[in-house]
């Protein structure tokens, strides 16, 4: 399984792997907001947590269809299925590799972009923490969507439609756990629910996605 993770990271980092694409997209989305809503720092500061979260969510979506589609097309998925790895383990490794190449860079970039949106200073730590805790859930939920749509031509669009509604709870509690701090309130409950959503997806998604993959490979 370590080998699978290593290969996925290697593939993402080589040319054409799409690493950096999500990050660049995130950068652009966030930088466009001041152009759209104007440069007043009061307005920007208020919407910054939400913008950063929506930006992260959309960037994450961008690379989801690669999780299984490429392996499906070149036959690796068939071969992996007959390998001595449990399907659930394959799914979990793929989701983790997706997070390491997408969610993690977004998390690291978010505080810097928060500065561009004049995010109040007490929000920096929490935008980092909330993304660090919340983006794994985005990767895992997305992996489930990718498993359902694997093998479909132009499945990427359907994938987005399937996955976006599932992202709503993560988005709400992720953005809230920053907004509340910025407004000077306690964010404990929002942050804990966010963590709970992530843990919930770690526990269930590998089984659900493995099931979906087996059906799709028939």
């Amino acid at each position: 399984m370590i080998a699978l993770m290593k290969r996925d990271l290697q593939l993402a980092l080589r040319s054409g792997g799409g690493f950096g694409l999500s990050l660049a997209f995130f950068l652009i989305v966030v930088m466009f907001v001041p152009f759209g809503v104007g440069p007043e720092s009061g307005v920007l500061a208020r919407i910054a947590p939400g913008i950063l979260w929506i930006g992260a969510l959309l960037s994450c979506l961008l690379s989801l269809d690669r999780i299984f589609q490429l392996d499906y097309e070149d036959g690796s998925l068939d071969l992996l299925t007959t390998a001595p790895l449990p399907m659930e383990g394959i799914v979990a490794m793929k989701a983790l590799a997706h997070w390491l190449t997408t969610g993690l860079p977004l998390t690291l970039a978010a505080p810097v972009l928060g500065f561009l949106l004049s995010l109040p200073s007490q929000g920096y730590l929490w935008i980092f923490l909330s993304l660090a805790v919340g983006t794994p859930a985005l990767s895992f939920l997305g992996t489930f969507g990718a498993a359902i749509t694997v093998g479909l031509k132009r499945g990427g669009l359907l994938l987005s439609l399937l996955v976006l509604p599932l992202y709503i709870p993560t988005l709400i509690f992720g953005a809230q756990s920053v907004t509340l701090v910025v407004e000077g309130q306690s964010n404990t409950s929002a942050f804990l629910i966010l963590a709970a959503i992530s843990l919930f997806t770690f526990a269930l998604i590998p089984f659900a996605a493995a099931r979906a993959l087996r059906v799709n490979l028939r």
Binding site: Q10, L11, G16, D74, L79, P84, R218
Partner: protein, 212 residues
């Protein structure tokens, strides 16, 4: 070591392709599947490999004994030949890729990215993967496609060597590989007949529409 198939029925999607397939393959035997295009060779191999559940009947194989090689080789274009083999060796818990590199003369290509390989070279890489699986039952779907005559001969020797070590090979191929004692199974006689549809759920509902 024995692969035993009794009364197996296979589906491809909704379509019933094969029914009542029975055969047994013991250690050291090669079974060559014959049949016209669309007769269900690939479907049978995928069912044996466990990629598709059998429609009926039983496939009796020891656990973790099957290595499947389909139409696609599962090669990552951005990785080198050695990296591709290394990955599968790691997945299957095999230490060395040296034998696999030597078998098809891939050593000079070891550091080349797989996207710069020719079709035949890719196929050779795909087939050498079998050696790093350490599995005893090989299921091979049209293994000789895009191989030149020399490589076909090497492949024949590789399968022969595998059989000598007590392995089993089931091949869908139309080429004579010169395997000693290979049995041939013509699967067109197992063609499923009659009711083609998997799911009778709506069929009954629409049954009398013809009269209306």
């Amino acid at each position: 070591m024995e692969l035993k198939v009794s009364n197996l029925g296979c589906r491809r999607g909704e379509l019933r392709v094969l029914a009542g397939v029975c055969f047994t393959a013991g250690s050291g035997t090669a079974l060559i599947l014959r049949g016209p295009n669309g007769s269900g060779k690939t479907t049978l191999l995928r069912t044996l490999a466990g990629l598709a559940p059998p429609d009926e009947g039983v496939v009796d194989v020891p656990p973790d004994s099957i290595a499947y090689a389909g139409h696609s080789d599962g090669i990552k274009a951005q990785l080198t030949v050695a990296e591709n083999l290394r990955f599968w060796a790691d997945v299957f818990g095999h230490d060395s890729i040296e034998d696999a590199l030597d078998m098809f003369g891939l050593r000079p290509l070891a550091d080349r990215q797989a996207q710069h390989l020719s079709a035949g070279q890719k196929r050779r890489l795909g087939l050498s993967r079998l050696l790093v699986t350490g599995r005893s039952i090989w299921l091979l779907d049209e293994p000789t496609v895009s191989l030149d005559t020399d490589s076909v001969a090497i492949f024949g020797r590789m399968v022969g060597g595998h059989l000598e070590q007590g392995g089993i090979a089931i091949l869908a191929t139309h080429i004579d590989l010169g395997l000693d004692g290979a049995e041939t199974l013509d699967i067109s006689r197992f063609r499923a007949t009659g009711d083609d549809h998997a799911n009778p759920f709506l069929d009954e509902g629409f049954a009398d529409w013809g009269d209306a």
